[in-house]
């Protein structure tokens, strides 16, 4: 038996995306070449750019394909930092952001003299708009998750974009976990408020919507002018030089298009499974607590605290039974760190190691939910017993 409940780490590749990917890989030609072969490749690439732009609701020239979400986030933050208005050196950085963001801002702090301005999350993991706005004044740039990849809380992205615009601060949105799962509209968020500065860039990743790993995109607003990190052939507005990955772009576009087309129906179906899972766990595992926002959360995200049971142990026990789940947090040498997101929503360090993230997606079924509901109570009991032998750690 194999039950996959880690869709947030990687959504299974959509068959349509795989077919398009393989087909495009057979096309001869470099999309930058002038001859007919190059033109064939270029046509596929620009078709893909248009289709992805339509799915994200932005203009095609705003789409810059990257190697994934992390490159997009890094390119946005560093690029916007180096094109910041003179005299500003603060970066608005809410707690609980993804490590792609945290580590980039930390690098900018250590090497470039950036001053991070934290924004505390509320107890369900949401970025308070007022708290965000309060530290925007005079900042070089701001960043925010559209939806938190660990606890699944969906932020009020339009409101965050609006306050950034009203304060004249360039905003980067990390939509890696959100895109394809909740409605995303770059254009509406960008144009929601007057002024040229506001939503400047947004990061996306293909494998979160059933596209291939190794492909992502940074949506860069027409008005934004980030400094490129990669120099060379001038491709993609000069923002990301290098021969373009046509098959990857095509597969991403196909996956994104399908995800957005199915979003309403699938989000509804998956949210029903999610709520069955949450209700079932709370009903069968003594002491289990749902973290994150119970209402405004990603349709596939279940994030639970199991007091007394180490998440790493639970993951192991479930994996022994063929059930793949996650502790949700970053790994150092294969060892999960206490989740900084769980800490950011006010939980203790011990609790931050006693969580599991179970994420559903396109291929999830009732049977998956039933399987984990059958295995989890025993696993928690066993993990609690194992934890008791080595208190506060395991």
């Amino acid at each position: 038996m194999s039950v996959y409940l880690d869709h947030a780490a990687g959504e299974p590749l959509r068959p349509e995306a795989r077919e398009a990917w393989v087909e495009a890989a057979a096309v001869v030609g470099n999309a930058s070449s002038i001859h007919h072969a190059g033109q064939d490749a270029r046509r596929l690439l620009e078709d893909a750019r248009e289709r992805l732009a339509a799915a994200v609701r932005c203009d095609p020239p705003e789409v810059v394909f990257t190697s994934g979400g992390t490159e997009a986030v890094g390119g946005a933050l560093k690029g916007l930092w180096w094109s910041r208005p003179s005299g500003s050196d603060a970066i608005v950085l809410p707690d609980g952001e993804h490590h792609a963001t945290l580590d980039t801002v930390e690098w900018l702090r250590a090497h470039e003299g950036a001053h991070p301005r934290p924004v505390a999350l509320d107890d369900v993991g949401r970025i308070p708009v007022a708290g965000f706005e309060a530290v925007l004044e005079g900042a070089a740039l701001a960043t925010a998750l559209v939806a938190n990849n660990e606890v699944g809380t969906v932020n009020d992205a339009p409101a965050l974009a609006a306050v950034a615009a009203s304060r004249g601060v360039a905003l980067h949105l990390d939509a890696v976990a959100a895109f394809g799962h909740v409605p995303v509209s770059f254009r509406e968020w960008r144009d929601g408020a007057a002024g040229t500065t506001g939503l400047a860039a947004m990061s996306l990743s293909a494998h979160k919507v059933g596209g291939p790993v190794g492909v992502g995109a940074l949506v860069v607003a027409r008005a934004a002018d980030p400094v490129p990190l990669i120099h060379g052939g001038g491709q993609q507005r000069g923002l990301r030089a290098g021969t373009q990955d046509v098959p990857g772009a095509v597969a991403f576009a196909v996956a994104a298009e399908l995800a957005v087309a199915e979003l309403d129906a699938e989000a509804g179906r998956i949210a029903v499974l999610r709520d069955q899972l949450i209700g079932g766990v709370i009903g069968s595992v003594p002491g289990a607590i749902l973290l994150g926002d119970p209402d405004r959360r990603l349709p596939g995200n279940v994030h639970m605290l199991f007091p007394g049971a180490v998440g790493e142990t639970l993951l192991f026990l479930l994996d022994q039974q063929g059930i793949a789940v996650s502790t949700g947090s970053a790994c150092q040498a294969g060892v999960p760190e206490p989740s900084h997101v769980v800490l950011a929503i006010g939980r203790a360090a011990d609790e931050a190691r006693q969580v599991l993230r179970l994420t559903l997606g396109r291929t999830s079924t009732d049977a998956d939910v039933a399987a984990v509901l059958e295995a989890l109570p025993g696993a928690v009991e066993r993990a609690r017993a194992a934890g008791a032998r080595s208190p506060s750690r395991a």
């Binding site: 790493e312 142990t313 192991f316 026990l317 994996d319 022994q320 150092q332 040498a333 294969g334 060892v335 999960p336 066993r382 017993a385 194992a386 032998r389 080595s390 750690r393 395991a394």
Partner: protein, 366 residues
């Protein structure tokens, strides 16, 4: 059996896991993360805690087709091994951290957790032999005397031995293990052995200790208490050491002097002639039995005081005050409190005692 193979990333534990798989056991590979500050790449042959070592273990598990996990024991390791190591030095004793790791981590924290999670045994790449007899399970030396690791396993109790599996114990030599690893396509076949203390990656134990216990100037005295020199920190000295004393006052007889004792409370190092190193009796209050406890009050055995020391015939007895006293037939050299004495009957490990007290073979005024 459902077996947890502890995989360090070295060749021994990889081949041990492979043999467990061949035996038909249901094997899961586990790498212990013992340091959160481990480097990315291995340097030289030291340590086992880098990400590269974890990757070597993972690739060996891949090759064997077994599941693989990294378990974090870094906090336990820091408390039970590293901090213990520092505390022992501060108390003037000479600890063996590998032994402590076996006692507290591999065959305690890890084994307990394995049992709780449904495993029957922990398999490691140690060179030692288990023998199941009517009287119970016994721990014996490995077939290859040069690789024998029964000494560092001397801390294991009957309960621990019951859930332990050492597939390499009867292997004639390390070369055989390397050849087998090669034949199995394990990439670690020619990986150098790890040496030294894994949490002191540059091998500079004195420098490492100086950072943690401080280095304060103190006196070097002879056995009569006369100051004959000074030092920059008593922790840097071990019993039996001759070099690096830099004594200003020569010995009256002009003969070389050796460290006889380290007194951390007064930050004093005691030196004397080589003969004064000879120890006629050792004793300690902390001992364990690798199987049933001896049924006699006094018995003959062999005693071994270091991993690669020769065993020496001895008489051991249990005193009424609860201490275990061992008198070797011929005096032992270079014994320091904190060291472990492992008692053997032939190839069989009887148990071990942590040395608290030593009695010199030569009276003080000799």
């Amino acid at each position: 059996m459902h077996i947890l193979a502890a995989m360090s990333g070295g060749v021994d534990s990889a081949v041990a896991a492979a043999r467990a798989v061949d035996e038909g056991h249901d094997v899961v590979g586990v790498h212990l993360a013992l340091s959160r500050a481990g480097g990315t790449l291995r340097t030289g042959s030291r340590g086992c805690c880098t990400i590269e070592d974890a990757m070597d273990a993972r690739r060996a598990a891949d090759r064997l087709g077994i599941p693989f996990y990294v378990w974090d024991f870094s906090e336990r390791f820091r408390e039970d091994v590293i901090e213990d190591f520092v505390a022992e030095y501060q108390a003037g004793r000479t600890p063996n951290p590998c032994m402590r790791c076996n006692e507290r981590i591999k065959f305690a924290a890890l084994l307990d957790r394995a049992i709780e999670l449904g495993f029957d045994a922990v398999c490691t790449g140690h060179y030692a032999t288990l023998l199941d007899t009517s009287a119970g399970r016994e721990l014996h030396r490995a077939s290859d005397a040069a690789k024998d690791q029964s000494y560092v396993l001397g801390v294991l109790t009957a309960a621990q031995l019951a859930h332990t599996y050492f597939p390499l114990g009867r292997t004639p030599s390390k070369a055989v293990v390397r050849a087998e690893a090669e034949a199995r396509g394990l990439t670690v076949a020619q990986k150098p052995d790890s040496h030294d203390i894994c949490f002191i990656p540059d091998g500079d134990t004195r420098g490492w200790l100086a950072e943690r216990v401080g280095a304060e100037t103190g006196d070097i005295v002879d056995r009569a208490g006369t100051v004959v020199g000074s030092h920059d920190g008593a922790h840097a000295f071990t019993v039996g050491q001759r070099r690096g004393l830099a004594l200003g006052v020569p010995a009256p007889d002009g003969r070389p002097r050796f460290v006889l004792e380290v007194r951390p409370v007064t930050n004093t190092v005691v030196v004397g002639p080589k003969e004064a190193l000879a120890i006629a009796e050792i004793s300690g209050d902390r001992y364990t039995w690798a199987g049933a406890a001896p049924d006699a009050v006094e018995w003959t055995c062999d005693v071994q005081i270091r991993a690669h020391a020769d065993p020496v015939p001895a008489v051991a007895r249990l005193d009424a005050d609860g201490s275990l006293v061992v008198r070797p037939e011929t005096p032992l050299d270079g014994v320091a409190p904190g060291q472990t004495a492992v008692l053997y009957a032939g190839t069989r490990v009887l148990g071990q005692v942590t040395i608290d007290r030593t009695v010199s073979a030569i009276p003080i005024d000799a």
